[in-house]
């Protein structure tokens, strides 16, 4: 499926026969996702997420602009998901491939259109000044799971990010320096997490119409090899409140409703675990920073 990479029949058949004997080539169980490694940077809103060999970096930034005329009470939130050839030469810099487009759309829907960020809280002066928050995603290394990793990176970034405090006095907006006033966090309404499943039909293509003899296999969090050879893919995006934000299944194998339910339940367990993990990491970082400040203040007073 990816341009420039040739997969041999041998590799495809080997993967299929491994799956048939209940084995993934990466040694994971069918329902076993990779545990994300989340690292927070020095600056607010700088997050690096590693999912196996996949590396995604999110940078959150905010600036003051004018709101859209038809939405004077809302701030702006943009996500950029341009994939450079750094992740892999399959991602052409001059032209967006279909795969890249699907990834962009899925991330956009998951974090922006699901209303994860409270846009109204970004309003400063209705109709004339608001915060514009942007999330820049940098894809450094590719081993599958870009959608899942992006979502974790952006949401962690939004939770970690602090924007400068502002005071409105009449028509003036005063932006306070970080040194001057403690910056304020963004109002995140919920944490959508994406979980991707890959489907394989190890039998002939003709036995696509399923009945009792359904030999279809589904696995959680496919790596690049599995992604390249898959017959179908499903991304479920939900939050800890069991609210499904997005289900994306673009073509591929048809799937029955029960499988979809099963996948959603599996996805919930994973999402709940990841959400707790994100919260814990952001909280730990915040605590560490605060300790630093208190220590600094005390040192000042001692003198």
């Amino acid at each position: 499926m990816f341009k420039g990479i040739e997969v041999s029949t041998n590799e495809r058949q080997f993967l299929f026969s491994a799956l048939k004997s209940n084995l993934r080539l990466n040694g994971r169980q069918f329902t076993e996702p990779r545990t994300p490694e989340i690292t927070l940077g020095e600056e607010y809103g700088h997050v690096e997420v590693r999912l196996g060999k996949t590396v995604v970096v999110a940078r959150i930034s905010a600036e003051i602009t004018a709101p859209f005329e038809d939405r004077p009470f809302e701030g702006l939130f943009n996500v950029t998901t341009e994939i450079s050839p750094m992740a892999s030469a399959i991602f052409d810099s001059s032209r967006q491939s279909d795969d890249e487009l699907l990834i962009s759309r899925a991330v956009e829907k998951a974090v922006r259109r699901s209303g994860a960020l409270d846009l109204e809280s970004l309003c400063i002066i209705a109709g004339s000044k608001c915060w514009s928050v942007r999330a820049d995603l940098h894809y450094l290394d590719y081993d599958g799971g870009f959608i899942d990793a992006s979502c974790i990176a952006v949401m962690t970034g939004l939770l970690h990010f602090r924007k400068n405090d502002v005071t409105v006095s009449g028509e003036q907006v005063i932006v306070h320096d970080v040194e001057e006033r403690e910056p304020v966090e963004l109002s995140v309404l919920h944490i959508p997490i994406c979980v991707t499943f890959a489907f394989f039909n190890p039998e002939d293509i003709e036995t696509n119409i399923k009945g009792d003899g359904n030999t279809e296999i589904n696995i959680v969090d496919p790596d690049s090899q599995e992604e390249a050879l898959k017959d179908g893919v499903l991304t479920v995006c939900l939050n800890k409140n069991r609210e499904v934000c997005q289900i994306s299944k673009a073509g591929g194998l048809p799937m029955d409703a029960l499988t979809l339910m099963g996948c959603s339940h599996k996805a919930y367990e994973i999402a709940a675990k990841v959400t707790d993990m994100i919260r814990a990491i952001v909280e730990a970082d915040y605590k560490k920073r605060n300790e630093g400040i208190q220590y600094k203040l005390r040192a000042e007073n001692d003198r």
Binding site: M86, A89, H138
Partner: protein, 222 residues
């Protein structure tokens, strides 16, 4: 001497990669090539070089285009392109931390040139010589600052980037120099002179980094 932290062979999907940090400037570079070029990139007797620079925050603009061109001019001198006719070498630079305001590009340019050297070595792309870059500022008090911080830049009267090639551990030729601001002819010579030692120092540091890389590559031999 600037404190450079760098490591190589970090990315799995490209032929060479390096990550480099000088103060708060952090760059990651990947090299893929020689690979099959697009037909418009193809050159009959030498390799073509495509450079992509991506900013840490915000969309890619003419600022990055200008940086790409500067890096292309520098790298094209170093790469022995005659060995790869009709092939393309793809260098992608991702800025992870700029370390300077958008009005300046000196720290990023310096970091990117140094980082791409390590990534090209990691990829095994043929180079005619080694090279290294250093940046400087001159303040309103006419004091020369080596490897300035973002704050130094803001209050500087002029800023300078110098790239030398290195042969046998010694600086040989001036590959590139870029100065902006307000400065005198003598200051140019001062910067160019001062840069010689700096680049030689950086090169010595690179040798250590590459030594580690080669040892890691051949770990199974020991």
């Amino acid at each position: 001497m600037s404190e450079i932290e760098a490591s190589t062979t970090l990315l799995n999907r490209v032929d060479g990669s390096a990550k480099l940090q000088i103060k708060s400037t952090q760059i990651i570079c990947s090299v893929t090539g020689p690979i099959e070029p697009k037909s418009r990139q193809e050159l009959p007797s030498t390799s073509s070089l495509s450079v992509i620079v991506r900013p840490d925050v915000g969309v890619t603009s003419t600022r990055e285009k200008n940086l790409e061109e500067k890096i292309r001019v520098i790298l094209n001198q170093a790469i022995a392109g005659e060995l790869y006719p009709r092939q393309n070498i793809q260098v992608t630079l991702q800025i992870l931390g700029a370390g300077e305001s958008k009005n300046y590009t000196v720290k990023e340019l310096t970091g990117m040139v140094n980082c791409s050297y390590l990534a090209l070595i990691d990829a095994g792309v043929a180079l005619r010589f080694s090279f290294g870059a250093q940046c400087f500022t001159i303040g309103h008090d006419d004091v020369l600052v080596v490897d300035p911080t973002g704050e130094d830049l803001k209050i500087s009267k002029s800023s300078h980037v110098v790239v030398y090639d290195v042969k046998e551990g010694k600086v040989d030729q001036l590959l590139y120099a870029d100065s902006l601001g307000s400065f005198t002819e003598e200051q140019v010579y001062e910067v160019l002179g001062k840069a010689i030692k700096e680049v030689e120092g950086i090169h010595a540091k690179f040798r250590e980094i590459i030594q580690t890389k080669v040892e890691k590559d051949y770990v199974w031999q020991f």
